[in-house]
């Protein structure tokens, strides 16, 4: 602990030295602690452009993957704290709500395409979503065709099961498996303990007409088991090997044409783009709930911008101006929405779908697939995982899923249910 503390202290000192270098002007300054390492370069470029234009200094700092909370906690304790940071939803907000500036009536709030994309804390508008993302089962059209099926054949869990099990049966002959490995290494387990777990939670919330809860009932956990069984028993590898498989393994299997299906989201486009835009599509994750023919992809956000209300008045003003510029200015919007060569420097843009009026049409085929589903009358599944009670809860479920994959017995599934239902209660009570 001593060691940890001193490391923390030293890093705080080092950081404040860095932050202290910037000359303070009357215009205030912006200090953005960015969550997404993938977009670090783009934000830094945007910041430079903004500074050139307005003379307001913008510092962009990016936390290492998986280290955002840790970094934020340390950074917020400094005298020069970030003026712009992000929370992941209601549970994340709980920790930071005292720091959130009320964005109601601000310029950027007026730019939102729907009020639903604001994160409310009672009457206060604590955060504003800046990117909408979608996930589902990404599939390889070419391989699916080779197996004798089309995406249109898959309209429910039963269809998906039929296709997957048929492919498994003919695995040797076809030369590929149905699913990529559902790796439970920490680089990949979030796809199942968080994203896949969203579906039973979504249906339960929907059935009960609620948006959050302190005690989940686990009404749809049998369906969760069904889809998990399907994933692990029709994959490229034995279920017992999943404990050590990584995210990169799954990507390699998918791009190496060893499997047809790969559960992930629009953000993974860069990883799978090599297969060719015409070859990739995305299916909804059907889990076998009644009436799921109308289910669309899972669309939502866990990225909300918050402005530090404890910062200097001038800095708050500068920050509000900066984020408003990001979502209204032509260059900035292009940088946020565009993909290839969208940055003024010729680099690729961030490829976001942003929930603001100025949003541009995306060139990411996975994103467009999501809109297609909506246009065809499907109902998108909302993202309910930001209401999961804590990181500890997710880890508990992930761990139980791993153990179950290695030994598929009812007793082991009971442990998953326990982690899911009882764990939720204990974590929510904390």
């Amino acid at each position: 602990m001593k060691k940890l503390l001193s490391v923390l202290l030293v890093s705080i000192m080092a950081l404040s030295l860095l932050a202290g270098c910037g000359a303070k002007e009357d215009k205030g300054s912006v200090y953005y602690l960015n969550f997404k390492p993938e977009q670090d370069k783009q934000w830094k470029e945007l910041a430079e452009i903004y500074t050139e234009k307005t003379g307001v200094e913008v510092i962009v700092e990016t936390a290492a993957s998986g280290q955002y909370e840790t970094t934020l906690k340390a950074a917020m304790a400094k005298s020069d704290a970030p003026t712009l940071f992000q929370v992941n939803g209601p549970v994340g907000l709980e920790a930071w709500k005292d720091y959130c500036y009320d964005l109601k009536g601000s310029d950027i709030a007026g730019q939102l395409s729907s009020e639903d994309f604001a994160l409310m804390d009672g009457d206060k508008m604590a955060g504003i979503a800046y990117v909408i993302e979608t996930y589902g089962i990404i599939y390889n059209k070419e391989l699916l065709q080779k197996a004798g099926y089309k995406a249109e054949d898959i309209k429910s869990f039963a269809d998906l099961k039929k296709v997957a099990e048929d492919i498994t049966k003919r695995k040797a002959e076809l030369g590929f498996a149905a699913f990529t490995s559902a790796g439970m290494d920490s680089s990949s387990d979030w796809r199942f303990k968080t994203h896949l777990a969203n579906l039973p939670i979504y249906y339960e919330y929907k059935a009960d007409g609620i948006g959050a809860t302190d005690a989940i009932k686990g009404t749809y956990l049998n369906e969760y088991r069904q889809i998990w069984d399907l994933y692990i028993n029709n994959a490229t590898c034995e279920p017992t090997a999943l404990a050590t498989k990584t995210g990169n393994d799954a990507v390699a299997e998918f791009t190496g044409k060893q499997a047809v299906f790969y559960q992930n989201g629009t953000w993974a486009y860069g990883d799978v783009a090599d297969l060719g835009d015409e070859n990739i599509g995305m299916l909804p994750i059907y889990i076998g709930v009644e009436g799921e023919e109308n289910q669309g992809l899972c669309t939502g956000t866990e990225n909300y911008w918050c402005v530090n209300g404890k910062a200097d008045e001038k800095d708050i003003k500068a920050t509000l101006d900066f984020i408003n510029w990001c979502v209204t200015d032509e260059v900035a919007v292009k940088a946020m929405c565009g993909t290839e060569k969208a940055m003024p420097s010729g680099e690729a843009g961030m490829g976001f779908v942003i929930p603001f009026k100025a949003c541009l049409e995306s060139t990411n085929p996975l994103v467009n697939q999501a809109s297609e589903y909506v246009a065809n009358g499907a109902t998108s599944v909302s993202w309910n995982f930001p209401t999961m009670p804590s990181e500890d809860w997710k880890n508990g479920v992930g761990s139980a899923l791993t153990l179950y994959a290695a030994e598929q017995t009812d007793a082991k599934w009971e442990d998953v249910v326990k982690a899911f239902v009882d764990g939720w209660k204990t974590e929510a009570a904390k």
Binding site: K2, K3, L5, S6, T70, M76, T240, A243, T244, E391
Partner: protein, 280 residues
């Protein structure tokens, strides 16, 4: 000379004292204060009294991790010190190439814990895969994995201390015992080990406190899997601090308790082995 020291001692003392205060005293005092607070950032804390400590003692996982850690500390202590001592004995014989061996055995100590954890994870999982299982499926795989890893890493270091101790035993004492007719077992237990007690004290202190404080290797090798069952105390504290909203203070309280436990055990061990040290 003495006058100069009298006059300018602040010049020599103050920088170190300042560093000590900034780097140790202040964070330490702050840490204790924070264990009585609820906070999100360390500069913005609200006093809540003993409620954090109450929560700690209700936490069954913490209790489990305490016994798991204690067992680990004892097992690793024995494994590391026995092997290190034997290696030191072997490498103080007049053999060719002892220096090369000393260097090789010491080298693992130069690699960082996180890296080691990941490398050994690959090795262990590679082996366990043959038996259709994996490191994070069983807490005792994790336990013995950690013992092997830590032994591999620390034996070289302890060995160097033991070698220094062995070389410091005067030849005259050994010779005298030989003349008195002691056999090699008697020489080891009646002469060598008693003469080595200062080194043994140090090595045992280092390995038992290292065992309790183990963090990096635990984080990268098992990350507490499965179900936090292989989570040792330091990692448990870290996960409490960052794992649930509003539990920063509880993590801090655990850290204070942890500090007391480690210092208590360390001092007791020092006293116990010190009393066996002999005057040369």
């Amino acid at each position: 000379m003495e006058k100069a020291i009298k006059k300018s001692w602040p010049f020599f003392v103050l920088p170190t004292l300042g560093a000590f205060i900034i780097g140790f005293i202040v964070p330490f005092a702050m840490g204790i204060w924070l264990s009585f607070c609820e906070f999100t950032t360390v500069t913005d804390a609200k006093f809540v009294g003993f409620s954090n400590y109450v929560k700690v003692f209700k936490d069954t996982v913490f209790l489990h991790s305490f016994w798991y850690t204690a067992l680990f500390a004892v097992v690793s202590l024995i494994v590391i010190n026995v092997i290190a001592f034997l290696l030191a004995m072997a490498l103080t014989r007049k053999m060719r190439g002892t220096n090369v061996f000393r260097t090789i055995f010491f080298m693992p100590n130069l690699i960082g814990g996180i890296v080691l954890g990941y490398i050994w994870q690959l090795i262990f999982d590679g082996i366990l895969q043959q038996y259709n299982t994996a490191l994070k499926l069983n807490e005792w795989f994790g336990f013995w994995g950690l013992v092997i890893l830590v032994a591999w890493q620390q034996i070289g270091y302890m060995m160097i201390i033991y070698i220094a101790g062995l070389q410091a035993i005067p030849d005259s004492v050994m010779e005298a015992s030989q003349i008195d007719g002691a056999n090699s077992v008697q020489k080891l237990f009646r002469v060598t080990i008693p003469m080595m007690m200062p080194s043994i004290t140090i090595c045992m202190f280092l390995s038992i406190t290292n065992g309790f404080k183990l963090f990096d290797q635990n984080l990268s090798l098992t990350a507490g899997q499965p179900m936090k069952m292989s989570e040792m105390m330091a990692l448990n504290i870290y996960n409490t601090f960052y794992g649930s909203v509003g539990y920063e203070g509880v993590g801090q309280a655990k850290a204070v308790i942890f500090f007391l436990v480690v210092i208590g055990i360390g001092l007791w061990q020092l006293k116990a082995t010190r009393s066996k040290e002999v005057q040369q």
